[in-house]
Symmetry: C2
Subunit: 199 residues, 2 copies
DNA sequence: TCTACTTGCTTCGACTTCGAAGCACAACCG
DNA sequence: CGGTTGTGCTTCGAAGTCGAAGCAAGTAGA
């Protein structure tokens, strides 16, 4: 089922043991499923998207206020996307955005009473869903392991240059990645701009 | 950091131990990070999105052809979204879509030579990224656990009514979910249609 | 077999998401 | 100081994503 490799009959395809592949695929698939369920729940009960929920969670946990960047990084999200979502949340009266006294450029975000109320209202159900989906089939030992493992993995990943770290080259002079020969997989995804790579 | 609850000072908020919450958040965050990295890699090397990669993987592993629904379910994806992506992949010559002899409604999807070639070309790099991000900080024992745990979780989730199972009520007579009092969290996300819930 | 219901897929419209580009302030450095 | 570079956020345009609605083929029952 998880196949992909198990089916090709090859062992240790390209240097990865099938066991690893299986773990990887199971992980991604499970999380994907979990996220869908959670999202559905949050939507019906509270009219929130998962990102919005996460934002409220962060803000709720944060002592005072957070800058947009802190928030975006915390949630693994694009900055522009955050601007959009923050706009919605603000319009909904769940958060406030204001200037920072320290840094004129920064925008400080804080959760409102309504936001906290809503968050508190959905949290129990959220947890219920997560428990039903994720924790039900796990023993306490599994759980301990999972937490330990994923924490380590996350920290490891966090160590890598974070999402927003990519320095914005001011002058794209010779910055083109130009890594791949771009042989087989040319077009696709329509991501190629009209002009680029005349077909 | 993972806070949200650790900060509120409460223990076992709403019946979930902080340990569970931590595991949950670490899990989601790690996968989120992983996915971003993977996506970036696939995009630069092969011009594929993660979904497209997954689709190719499924099709590559599949002996013969798969129907759209099988494919969508396998990848945890909306049907309409699949139609869109399949269109792109087909236009790119990586897959083919054709009618099914058994069921006139069904569409059978198969991977082409080019598709298989591209997939084989990206796979090694993909694996390299995953290994660097996910497996590096793990021991063989961790890996075994992770695979075991996530497989169990996934199967558990799969048991729940699958994404596409929601029966399309033909007559919305009295089908309104009508579960929540819809108190605090009304509008937001602009998801509310112009007409619904006059403001 | 005619009619209703189910099921597979696509179309449609609305929303979300992202990266690139832009704007404004901050931080250096001579 | 004045210029250059870096940083925080938003705007903009292009895609991607989803659910609802629609179409057509299967299926069940009278």
């Amino acid at each position: 089922m998880t196949g992909l490799d198990s089916d090709t009959g090859t062992n240790g395809v390209h240097g990865l043991a099938p066991q690893q592949l299986d773990a990887y695929f199971a992980l991604m698939e499970a999380v994907s499923l979990l996220q869908h369920h959670v999202e559905r729940h949050l939507r019906t009960e509270g009219n929130l998207s998962y990102v919005q929920f996460q934002l409220l969670a962060r803000l709720s946990a944060a002592r005072g206020q957070l800058t947009m960047t802190q928030l975006a990084d915390g949630v693994v999200y694009s900055r522009s996307g955050l601007t959009y979502q923050a706009g919605l949340l603000e319009k909904g009266g769940l958060i406030t955005r204001g200037p920072s006294p320290d840094d004129e450029r920064a925008t400080l975000v804080a959760i409102t009473e309504a936001g906290r109320a809503l968050f508190d209202r959905v949290l129990p159900g959220h947890i219920r869903v997560v428990r039903g989906m994720l924790f039900d089939p796990l023993t306490g030992d599994d759980l301990r392991h999972l937490g330990d493992i994923m924490t380590r993995v996350r920290d490891h990943m966090r160590a890598q240059p974070p999402r927003s770290a990519a320095p914005r080259r001011r002058r794209p002079a010779s910055a083109a990645p130009a890594s791949l020969p771009a042989t087989t997989g040319r077009a696709l995804t329509g991501k190629t701009r009209p002009g680029a790579e005349a077909r």
